[in-house]
Symmetry: C2
């Protein structure tokens, strides 16, 4: 008999809902399309129906501890409202948490999606043996989360962890946030595709040009496929993305001296192509990393063994282990531990 | 009747020792030269004599809670040993804390000097009304400290807060740490003088050239004096230093979302010349700052009023208030609160 919670990953495209028990076992996962165009109330109805279905089904196996919801945007933790979410138009200034609590008669916690991904990796993934870690999530944009003493670090207004908008090239590519040279402009899926199109435009990237012309949905994944097949232009793009990540990581290692930094999100699948640039910059730019690096950082991808071997006094840089489920597990974890 | 502690600021040049009571009142301060050349044991003898003198003198007014010592270097908090200190040759791998505890029969805490400065500003200075803050100390180098929930954040190996070695120009000036373009290479006193000499070498900085030729100890202070007299070349140097600080601060604001960031150390006396570059970069580069900036950041130099007025939901960037005493107060605070 183990109590359980519901984790929700409210994406711009998919709405995923899972029942997870206190031991971290996934009881069931439901994936729906997020019908954003039908409006907020429609999405909340779908979500509540699915949550009710799961909680009814598993109520014999334990008590429902509550519902955690990961949202792609900035959350006001006090009011449980969405402050800003480009992918969820119409959700701002609406009492999302209170409305869902009223309908379900269960405690609900809203949280930023990159923060719940970090919490998921902390609970069951790469960070399960460490107390303090930071995570960068490389998706359409670059998100981030910080876990200190096992809990999400929110900062003063819930905006901590915006690592995607740290500057790596002061005069670099303009970013939607108003800055230039944010790491998001080099290490997101969007940036990888943009850099590939820039390479194609020079006329020196025939393989990339071929791939782009044969596919209307030319993606970071295809560029990675070319990289692992040995295409130099594709490899250079991921090397550049890795270097940008390495500059940000070097700063975080120097500033925070955490035990672990986890790279997740779709683009982290390209770890083999990203990691040389990451470790090159870390070694060059972080004296704290130089003093605390594992003897063979390249092998640190299977993080837990490494952490145990070094007694936790080494800085581990590693890829995430839970894939897109990190956010679901992290969201389900919220009602188990509180904010 | 108020208990008291002894704070020690063990610099490469001066050894300063103060008795401070629990209310934060300075009872007495002693300044000695640090006779580094005479060796570690000589310095420890001087220090212990002065501590004994002060503790005997004030023992009638309260109990001695212990001794805190700020050291310019990396400290192993567990062993109480100096791991690395370029300015204190011969101090590494020696049980400094245990030796002084044995001699004084009182609890002793060793701590990095930038960390104690941050703790001092938190206790009695710019940060006295906030819970979480970071501080950058602009001296010969650039040090840093992080205070979370009122306590120094040490990180995994006591190396957190090395903000001076965060990168602001990936291909910039080489730094002693092995990196290029560290903020220390633009915003330390050493860097200000270097940038002035670079300007003189171009032949376009006649006032700086005059000041440099008339004084063998051409310093950041003289360059600042020229800046406030309106010399464009001198102003540009501090604008550049401020911009470098602004890039690092923008990253810290985005990543940590703390309530306050304090700029201290000798070069922070040039606040009027530094702050335009700082706030320019913050506004351009930090979405979190843009969302949380006080309506008139330039007036935020008298921080406490501002923090109170905004209920602590604004990001305050401000200069330090305690000058070189921050480290003394912070060191004395250590035995009052524990590590």
């Amino acid at each position: 008999m183990s109590n359980f919670a519901i984790g929700v990953d409210l994406g711009g495209t998919n709405l995923r809902i899972a029942a997870v028990n206190e031991e971290g076992r996934l009881l069931e996962k439901v994936t729906l399309g997020t019908k954003v165009a039908l409006g907020r109330d429609h999405v909340i109805n779908d979500m509540c129906d699915a949550i009710r279905h799961l909680s009814d089904k598993y109520q014999t196996s334990g008590r429902l501890l509550g519902v955690g919801i990961g949202v792609p945007g900035i959350i006001d933790m006090q009011t449980g409202m969405v402050r800003e979410s480009p992918n969820l138009p119409g959700w701002s200034d609406y009492p999302v948490r209170d409305e869902i609590e009223k309908r379900l008669q269960a405690p609900v916690i809203l949280e930023n999606d990159a923060n719940v991904a970090a919490l998921g990796e902390k609970w069951l993934g790469a960070g399960r043996h460490v107390g303090d870690m930071a995570m960068l999530t490389l998706g359409t944009g670059v998100g981030g989360g910080v876990i200190l003493n096992g809990k999400i670090w929110h900062g003063m207004t819930g905006m901590a962890g915006e690592f995607g908008h740290m500057t790596v090239e002061p005069g670099g590519h303009p970013c939607g946030c108003g800055n230039r040279g944010c790491v998001e402009q080099y290490a997101s899926a969007t940036a990888v595709v943009r850099m590939a199109r820039e390479a194609i435009a020079t006329g020196d990237a025939p393989e990339l040009a071929k791939a782009a012309s044969s596919d209307a949905e030319f993606s970071a994944k295809e560029i990675y496929n070319l990289a692992i097949q040995g295409d130099e232009q594709a490899k250079m793009i991921f090397r550049r993305a890795g270097r940008a990540l390495g500059i940000v990581l070097a700063g975080l290692v120097n500033g925070l001296n955490l035990e672990m930094y986890v790279i997740g999100g779709g683009v982290s699948s390209a770890w083999e192509a990203l990691s040389p640039g990451i470790f090159e910059q870390l070694r060059e730019r972080s004296m704290v990393y130089a003093a605390t690096a594992p003897s063979d950082p390249a092998s640190a991808t299977g993080a837990s063994a490494n952490v145990e071997a070094t007694g936790g006094r080494k800085t581990i840089i590693t890829r995430a282990l839970l894939g897109s489920d990190a956010g679901l597990f992290g969201a389900a974890r919220l009602p188990m531990t509180g904010v």
